[in-house]
């Protein structure tokens, strides 16, 4: 069993304050009123009732902002490692002379506190493509600078399915340590040197006293219960799903998943593992500008549009299929990992009713069906 420490509720808040006072950026889930305007009148202008909150990962300004009792933030941690838009280089042009300026690939150390395990696991999954032959210094630089401390999940709904895709509500994949809520505070288990450094640097906040028959056992029970709860939602044989998709590319089951899909790309935006990006030049004045990469989505009609006008994926059917294919077949074939950590955001955010739990279940059934049986009914 890995080392365990106890940190009280007060000390965790104190640790946060210590980090902030020391100038370290702390990112954590924060609950905000749905309308952030400072004006009280404007606030009522957009809330129906004052209790509507959004949960987001945000840079904390004070330890008081820390709110660890909530569910999943609406956007994942992705934006802190692959920002929605980031400069790749800048240029200055005078006559025919062009100077191109580098952008920093080293970043100030920072801590993510109470990350959801599905979001942290996603970082480890995307690490693979970001280091495929060419090492992406911007991604790697941010990864190196960040200590990610997970908080074992307590708020689980029926769109979560992390356990079906190799993650778990108490996993440390992609993270440096795990906090598990227990009576009075949290059990903390470091998973890497960075995770251990937190205990060393702030030793006064932690206690090594974690009796197995009380808080230790509590932590274990909580986590087992969470895992069971998620497993209840969906169980698939990811390898069979991977192989079935590759072998049945044109099966109606895959081409008819998207009747109600609007191609809006909300799913790819909120997804922790979707990483497709565009590169554009932005002229920012006479003779200077920035080349940026920005989030893109395979669901957009123009994603694969050639300048000639030819589009290999010209209907929403095949664009949606690409998403399923990339996540559950292509990425596993190339990198040995499912490009999905079961956070369920795509299902929750899709107001057209596309449901990944339902879709994966249908593909899993088809994949496990003996070869000579009836074709699967399309999940329409």
């Amino acid at each position: 069993m890995s080392e365990r420490f106890f940190i009280s509720e007060t000390d965790l808040r104190g640790l946060t304050a210590d980090l902030l006072d020391g100038g370290t950026e702390v990112i954590a889930p924060v609950a905000t009123d749905i309308c952030q305007s400072p004006s009280a009148v404007a606030a009522t202008a957009c809330t129906l009732d004052g209790s509507k909150v959004e949960i987001d990962y945000r840079q904390l300004t004070s330890a008081d902002d820390l709110d660890l009792s909530r569910g999943l933030p609406q956007l994942s941690l992705k934006e802190f490692f692959l920002p929605e838009h980031e400069p790749l280089c800048r240029w200055r042009q005078k006559g025919t002379t062009v100077q191109v300026f580098e952008v920093p690939t080293e970043f100030a150390p920072r801590v993510v506190l109470a990350a959801k395990p599905c979001d942290a696991a996603a970082l480890a999954v995307v690490d693979k493509v970001m280091n495929w032959d060419y090492e992406d210094e911007l991604w790697n630089g941010r990864r190196a600078a960040t200590t990610v401390i997970n908080l074992a999940c307590q708020v689980i709904d029926d769109s979560c399915f992390c356990t079906a895709v190799g993650a778990a509500p108490d996993d440390v994949k992609g993270a440096d340590g795990l906090l598990t809520p227990v009576e009075g505070g949290y059990v903390y288990e470091p998973a890497t040197d960075k995770g251990r450094a937190l205990v060393e640097d702030f030793a006064a906040r932690f206690s090594a006293d974690v009796p197995a028959d009380t808080i230790g056992g509590q932590a274990d029970d909580e986590r087992a219960a969470a895992r069971a709860r998620v497993a209840d939602n969906l169980e698939i044989d990811a390898d069979s799903v991977r192989d079935w998709i590759e072998a049945n590319f044109e099966d109606p089951l895959l081409t008819h998943l998207a009747m109600r899909c609007n191609g809006c790309g909300a799913c790819t935006g909120v997804c922790p593992t979707c990483h497709c990006f565009d590169i554009v030049d932005e002229q920012e004045g006479v003779g200077h500008g920035t080349r940026r990469r920005l989030w893109d989505t395979c669901q957009a009609p123009t994603f694969t549009l050639h300048a000639s006008g030819h589009n290999p994926r010209d209907t929403q059917h095949v664009r949606y299929r690409q998403r399923i294919n990339h996540k559950f077949s292509i990425y596993p074939l190339r990198f040995g990992e499912v490009l999905c950590t079961g956070c369920g955001r795509c299902t929750r955010v899709c107001h057209a009713g596309q449901d990944l739990v339902e879709i994966l279940e249908a593909i899993d059934i088809a994949a496990r069906r003996p070869r000579d049986a009836e074709p699967a009914e399309a999940a329409s």
């Binding site: 400072p38 004006s39 009148v41 959004e54 554009v280 057209a352």
Partner: protein
């Protein structure tokens, strides 16, 4: 603990299923697009088999504006053949918008109108709830089309007015208008900073149907694609202006926005301006010409100097 009561389905569901079945069996339509109950609540359904017509529902969870599926760019829908579309009054207005702009041929769609008493803000619930000021979709208040006129079949029974929401959209717009300019600017800056440029608002809007959206044009580049404040303001305001006089207030853009930007406030404000200046509000009468696309000798033009 009490909460809103479970509401029964609206009247007309049995008729709806019967009409849908008959339309499919006779071949008059090749697909019925309506709402069904699924694992996470109500959602659009595409029915091609008459035996599945019983999947159709109509209750307070049927929020989705299904007219978005008539977008001519949605090949995977249009290639199925003639569509039987279930519409509420607000949805019928969007159909009228498409007809008005010659984006749809009337004989391509059979419209099944449902008499409606309002819908919830969000349909992803296991049961339909009775409407209360807290849960009703604010856009339903003051609806002038609870009995749609642009239909081929009109089903159900007349329904009472939906409850008044805690704050109507007009009141919310007025509250914003009352703010000093700097605060209103700060409000929208804050809101647009959330935008991730997913274009859900555009994709789901039944009237955003341009073959090539302005944001996709690169020669010249009108709107930057990066999700920084400059690009986001440009995108959201341009889309709102392109919908002025055309928006039917279905609220889908705001509902779909994954980061919760209150787009209905923008659209309603522009709607108010169009109404004040041109005496026009989108209706479900396609013959009623919209200001953009129609010229009258008495159009106000004092702003042309």
């Amino acid at each position: 603990m009490t909460g809103p009561a479970i509401a029964p389905a609206y009247a007309g569901v049995d008729e709806l299923r019967r009409v849908a079945r008959e339309l499919l069996e006779s071949g008059e339509v090749r697909v019925i697009i309506g709402w069904e109950d699924a694992r996470r609540g109500a959602r659009p359904v595409f029915i091609t088999d008459p035996a599945e017509a019983d999947k159709l529902i109509f209750d307070t969870r049927c929020v989705h504006n299904l007219v978005t599926y008539l977008d001519p760019r949605r090949d995977h829908v249009s290639e199925l053949g003639r569509i039987g579309l279930v519409v509420k009054g607000c949805d019928a207005k969007a159909v009228a918008g498409l007809l008005r702009e010659s984006q749809l041929s009337r004989d391509h769609v059979v419209l099944i109108g449902m008499r409606c008493g309002g819908v919830l803000e969000e349909g992803e619930l296991p049961e339909p709830l009775a409407l209360t000021p807290e849960n009703v979709a604010p856009r339903c208040y003051g609806c002038d089309n609870r009995e749609p006129t642009l239909t081929d079949h009109l089903l159900g029974e007349p329904q009472p007015e939906p409850p008044r929401p805690v704050m109507t959209i007009d009141e919310r717009v007025a509250a914003l208008d009352d703010l000093p300019l700097e605060e209103r600017w700060a409000f929208w800056t804050e809101q647009f900073s959330k935008c991730v440029r997913c274009y859900a608002c555009r994709q789901v809007c039944p009237l955003c149907i341009c073959e090539r959206c302005i944001v996709e044009k690169t020669q010249p580049l009108w709107i930057e694609s990066a999700a920084h404040p400059r690009g986001n303001f440009s995108w959201n305001l341009t889309r709102a202006i392109h919908l002025a006089g055309r928006c039917v207030d279905c609220g889908e853009c705001e509902r779909f926005c994954p980061v919760g930007i209150p787009l209905s406030l923008l659209n309603r404000k522009l709607q108010q301006i169009v109404h004040d200046r041109y005496g026009y509000t989108a209706s479900d009468d396609p013959e009623n010409a919209a200001p953009i696309g129609d010229y009258r000798l008495d159009d106000q033009q004092e702003f042309i100097k």
